[in-house]
Structure formats: structure tokens, C-alpha cells
């Protein structure tokens, strides 16, 4: 049997007497798969993602990367947050370079080359010397993505990274992120409560119920929409249909609130 790349084995989580994930959670994620955790706000999807990063530990069960249980945080599992995603006292280029600061296996020259390469990739090369407060919110998120890629993360963990952006910027970044993931071959676990974002980005969407989190559906998107995701896809009837289907599921997931 082939070892799954990333696997949740019967994971549950309690914070004190608050059940965040009550029903044991088990899924496997393939290498270079783009998985989106979709669910109502506060349902526990973020907690599950943070466990992959080693920022939380499961109350029971285990998470394995390439067959080995994950421990504390390290550079192989990078994190992109919605806010405070880059350091304000470093320039754009310094932020990206900071991603490799604790890597002893790279020479200074390699680090600089990687920095420039990833700045180029996210289209920020000409803003290298700007401080984050001088660039747009979308660019700040690109800085965080470039930093995580430069750090050499195999798994990129993204916690509603585009949640604070306006609609146009969000769409553009979604297209770019999907392209980057295809080109750079990264496994991404992405948390959001935005259905369109989930369907547009994901190879696979996991729909969660409200807390305590339970898997409502595990939908293969690539099967239906294909792997390439140009912006025009958003206007196609297939996309629309799929989005509506997922939206209905999510409404059920949110349950009888309101």
C-alpha cells in the first residue's frame, strides 16, 4: 500500500470543555493537492488546519506527513494568515528573505537567488524595497505567499488569506494562487467560508458542519471543472451549478441558525 502524503487519523480536539472537533476526523490529502476546508465561521476548520502546522495538538488521533506524525512547527509546513501576515519593519524583499533565515542548508547566495525568484513569481520584484504599509493588502498577502514558498514549505497552510481584500483583488489573487500551485507543485490546505472561493480554487472541497466540526461532504472539484482555472471559469454554467450545490450543502451545515 502506498503511504498517503498527508493524513488525519481520527483526530478530535477539545479546548477545556469546549468540543471543537468531536467526531473523529480522518482524511488523506495527496501530494500537490489543493484542498479547501469550507464551513461556517467558528466551526473548527481553522483548528484542524493549524494542527497540520503544529500550532495546535490533537486531543486524540494523529496527523501524519509522509507517514510520520507531525510535531511542532517547522519550515516544511508554512502558514499564511489573513492579517499580520508580513512583518512591517522589513521591506518586501527582506520579508521574503526572512522566510529562509533559519535554514542552515542554504548558502547566502542561494537564499538571495530564491528570494528574487519568488518575488518575481508573485510579481513583486519592483516593490522589493517598499515597506508593507506602502503596498496594497493584496500585495501584502503575496509577500506572505512568496515568503512561505521561499522558506521551502511543502505544505502551505492558508487561513482565509484573502478575507480582508476587496472583490477584484481577491479574484486576481485566486487566479494567481491557483497558477502558482500548479507551477510550483505545492500541497495547499486552504480555509475559507466563501463558497465561490472554495470551488474556484480547490481540487477538493471538504464541507464542515457548524461546531463541533463534522464532515458534511467531500467534493472532487477537479473531476468536474478540470485542473486549469482561468478567470472566465467563474462565468461558466458548470461553475455556477457546482457553486450552488455547495452553497446548499453549506446552508444545511450551518443548520437551523437564524
Amino acid at each position: 500500500m502506498i503511504e498517503p502524503y498527508l493524513a488525519f487519523h481520527g483526530v478530535t480536539k477539545r479546548f477545556g470543555d469546549l468540543d471543537v472537533v468531536a467526531q473523529p476526523f480522518s482524511i488523506t490529502v495527496e501530494r500537490n493537492e489543493f484542498v479547501v476546508f469550507l464551513g461556517p465561521s467558528g466551526c473548527g476548520k481553522t483548528t484542524l488546519m493549524r494542527m497540520i502546522g503544529g500550532l495546535e495538538t490533537p486531543s486524540s488521533g494523529a496527523i501524519c506527513l509522509e507517514g510520520l506524525p507531525v510535531g511542532g512547527p517547522d519550515h516544511r509546513r508554512g502558514m499564511v494568515f489573513q492579517s499580520y501576515s508580513s512583518f512591517p519593519w522589513l521591506t518586501v524583499a527582506e520579508n521574503v528573505l526572512f522566510g529562509m533565515r533559519y535554514r542552515k542548508d542554504l548558502t547566502e547566495q542561494q537564499k538571495l537567488a530564491r528570494r528574487d525568484n519568488y518575488l518575481e513569481l508573485v510579481g513583486l520584484y519592483e516593490f522589493s524595497d517598499a515597506y508593507p504599509n506602502k503596498v496594497s493588502g493584496g500585495m501584502r498577502q503575496r509577500v506572505a505567499i512568496a515568503r512561505t514558498l521561499a522558506a521551502g514549505s511543502d505544505v502551505m497552510l492558508m487561513d482565509e488569506p484573502f478575507g480582508a481584500l476587496d472583490a477584484q483583488r481577491r479574484e486576481r489573487l485566486q487566479v494567481e494562487l491557483r497558477a502558482i500551485q500548479r507551477r510550483d507543485a505545492k500541497t495547499i490546505v486552504f480555509v475559507t467560508h466563501d463558497v465561490e472561493e472554495a470551488v474556484f480554487l480547490a481540487d477538493r472541497v471538504i464541507v464542515f458542519s457548524k461546531r463541533p466540526a463534522r464532515v458534511m461532504a467531500d467534493i472532487d472539484i477537479t473531476d468536474r471543472l478540470g485542473a486549469e482555472r482561468p478567470l472566465e471559469l467563474r462565468d461558466s454554467p458548470e461553475f455556477f451549478q457546482l457553486r450552488n450545490g455547495v452553497l446548499r450543502l453549506l446552508r444545511e451545515a450551518a443548520g437551523d441558525e437564524e
Partner: protein, 284 residues
């Protein structure tokens, strides 16, 4: 610039007076929550201060007040010059400044690591907070007798009193600065492979630095308050001593001259630290 306005002859003659009009319109400086140019702000600040001095001078000269109690600004200034020449006023000011900086540096060097530890490790915070909160509320003057019993009337008493007044305030402010560092920064550092020491040094400390410098500036001001108390109680040098000696002989102009010197030192220090802050933290 002229080329551009000339290519649009229809709007140019109209827009020119319109552009200068708001500057001449006196009501614009009263715009609710409006802005003012830096130059205008400095001008208004200087103008108000000078105006106040002129009124004061006039009041004293006309004889509306007894000049024994409120001498005119010009009298204060001339006694200040006399004190510089004959009473070593500048040396006294220098000694006071030195005391403030020694005690303040001592307080800062102790408060910064302790404050950081209090916010980084809950156990340190839990252990120290009650003690610090208790001492923080004790007024420094109330501790003067005790410090004289402990340290006599020498230099160490003054330094101790100044340290006492600033250390306990500062330590809580530092702890607060550290607590306000967004947790995301810490987690980013961890997921990039930083250990605790590296995270503290490269990320948390860097993130708290602007707030820290601001709090140092504010506590330095408090330090001056305690300095005068310390120098009045037991000293044979320093601005506080000069003021207190002048009071004994009812030399009001000299008392006020001493007070003005403190004000000027405070103003200059504060502006200096603000300038450093602006320069060091351009990214804010």
C-alpha cells in the same frame, strides 16, 4: 508646471485663485477634525507661547500683580543669565540630567527584560504582577524617609528614588508592549523554524520596539518629576537644590528660572526622542 496650465487655458485662470483661497480663508483652520500643515502648527504653537509671555510681561509691568510673587518673564530671564554666570546653573542642570539618565538607564535595563519575561511566560507574570502593582501605587515621596534610612543622604538615595519611581511603572508598560505583539508574528516565526530565543529576538522584540521607545520617552518625563523631589529632600547640587535654595531667600525670579530650565530640558529631550522615533520607525 506652467506648460500644463497653459495648455488648459479655460480652467487655469479659475483654478489659481481657487487653489490659494482656502489658505487665506481663516475658517479653514477651524475645520472640525481637519488637518494643518506642519509649518502652520509650529507657527501657531510659537505664536501662542509668545503671546502668553507678552501678556505676562505686561501684567507684571503695569503692576497688576506683586512682582515678588510673579516676576516678569524678562526678570526671570535676566536672573537665569545671572545664575548661569555666578551660580553655575548649567553645572547644576548637567548634574540633574546625569542623575536622571543614570537612574533611568538602570530602571530601563532592568525593566525591559523583566517586562518581556512577564508577558512571555505566564508563570513570571503571575509571580510578579501583584508585587509590582502594589509598589507602583506607593507615592515616591512617601518612600523618602525609608530611602534616607537605607541609603543616607548621598547620591545613592537620589538614584534609588528615581529608579523606584520609574522601574515599576516601566516594567508593566514593557509587559504590555510585549503582550500586544500580534500572535500571528510569533506563529509565522515558529513555522519558519525559529526557536523561542530566535522568535523573541528577531520577531517579538522587533515588533514591540516602537511602542517600547514611546514608553521610554514617557517614563523619562516622570523621572524628572521624582528628581526634583529627591533633590529638594537631600542634595547640595542639581536644579532641585537651586530652586529650593532660592525659595529660602524668597528669590522668586531664581525659583522660576530653575523651573524654566527643567521645562526646557524636558522639551528638548522629548523632541529629540520623537525625532529618533520618526527616523528609526519609518515603516510605521
Amino acid at each position: 508646471m506652467t506648460d500644463i496650465s497653459e495648455t488648459a487655458p479655460v480652467t487655469a485662470p479659475d483654478s489659481r485663485p481657487a487653489a490659494t483661497a482656502p489658505r487665506l480663508d481663516p475658517s479653514s483652520i477651524w475645520a472640525f477634525r481637519g488637518t494643518l500643515s506642519r509649518r502652520a502648527q509650529i507657527g501657531i504653537g510659537v505664536g501662542t507661547s509668545v503671546g502668553l509671555l507678552l501678556i505676562w510681561e505686561a501684567v507684571a509691568r503695569i503692576g497688576l500683580v506683586n512682582t515678588t510673587f510673579l516676576p516678569s518673564p524678562s526678570t526671570v530671564l535676566s536672573s537665569m543669565l545671572m545664575m548661569v554666570q555666578k551660580q553655575n546653573l548649567l553645572q547644576h542642570a548637567g548634574i540633574s540630567t546625569l542623575r536622571v539618565w543614570v537612574a533611568f538607564s538602570l530602571a530601563a535595563v532592568m525593566a525591559i527584560p523583566i517586562g518581556i519575561l512577564m508577558s512571555s511566560y505566564r508563570v513570571v507574570g503571575a509571580a510578579l504582577e501583584p508585587i509590582i502593582d502594589f509598589i507602583r501605587y506607593l507615592p515616591v515621596p512617601a518612600l523618602v524617609p525609608l530611602s534616607i534610612i537605607w541609603f543616607g543622604v548621598g547620591e545613592s538615595t537620589k538614584l534609588y528614588l528615581l529608579w523606584l519611581g520609574t522601574f515599576f511603572q516601566l516594567v508593566l508598560l514593557v509587559a504590555d508592549d510585549m503582550r500586544r505583539v500580534p500572535h500571528e508574528y510569533i506563529e509565522i516565526a515558529h513555522t519558519l523554524g525559529a526557536n523561542t530565543r530566535q522568535t523573541l529576538r528577531d520577531v517579538a522584540f522587533r515588533a514591540m520596539l516602537p511602542g517600547l521607545v514611546d514608553n521610554l520617552r514617557i517614563t523619562l518625563g516622570w523621572c524628572w518629576t521624582y528628581l526634583i523631589i529627591a533633590e529638594i529632600v537631600a542634595a547640595d547640587s542639581g536644579i532641585g537644590f537651586v530652586i529650593w535654595t532660592a525659595r529660602r531667600y524668597m528669590k522668586t525670579p531664581e525659583v522660576m528660572a530653575g523651573v524654566v530650565v527643567i521645562g526646557v530640558i524636558g522639551l528638548v529631550t522629548d523632541q529629540l526622542l520623537r525625532a529618533i522615533h520618526r527616523r528609526a520607525f519609518r515603516y510605521l
